[in-house]
Subunit: 132 residues, 2 copies
Amino acid sequence: MEPKDLPANILDPNCPSRVIFQRIGDKWASLVIQVLGDGPVRFSELRKMVSVVTPKVLTQTLRALERDGLITRTVHAQVPPRVDYELTAVGESLLQPLSMLREWAESHVPTILEARDAYDDAQDEALLGSSN
Amino acid sequence: MEPKDLPANILDPNCPSRVIFQRIGDKWASLVIQVLGDGPVRFSELRKMVSVVTPKVLTQTLRALERDGLITRTVHAQVPPRVDYELTAVGESLLQPLSMLREWAESHVPTILEARDAYDDAQDEALLGSSN
DNA sequence: AGTCAAAGGTATCCAATGGATACTGATAGC
DNA sequence: GCTATCAGTATCCATTGGATACCTTTGACT
């Protein structure tokens, strides 16, 4: 793993690592993975915990994660049906990098909200100035 | 400690940390930040390095990052114009968490591609079986 | 003088994605 | 029968993303 000649490069649009990187960055996928970090969860529970996601989009997300081997889908032959989603070993290996990002996000909330307010105020002033 | 009462919680749709988390997960934003990790870059260079992004979308991405205080935009009074984008201190603090994700993505490329092939093959067989 | 090129974007239009809402199918319990 | 539960589909519409063309300023070239 020499950093000199990385075999995979996210900046190359033809490199599969980029596709994978963007799957992680998917709006719902990363939340689902973090929820599954505590163990298997069924579909309806996921919907409640990863609020507010519509069933169609949650299904799409879960199928994509399953396809990439990050989660498994287990159907229990019951009525009403019970379907459990669970992290694979690969999926679990994502928990740590994701939790670092999460910690970053949670700890920088105040700073970023301040920056937004300042930026928006500046925009407002610019607009007012131009109309005078 | 129940996870229900975290001060900032990504799973809460009303918590700003979620919005921020999703900005990081934006398709282009995280790539831009990683490119800017080596120092300021001008617009046209960014377009080349973060290929392939259209100017409209790159502008949207940069404006959003600027609004959140992760990058600065500096216009040099020249002709032709020169505009440099540069990470702020907050933006730089994102580099480490992002590089962990990037390393994860790059190192898991083979595993995930295999999983995809296996999944797609299984889907194909299921389709063939149902049509017989 | 006229024309071209460079840089950093906008403007416009169309395709893809995301989301709201309603519905399905099997069965157990009332 | 009627209803409830669960895990989704089906359908439709709004938002976003992307391709392409265009704009502006000024220096260099012809």
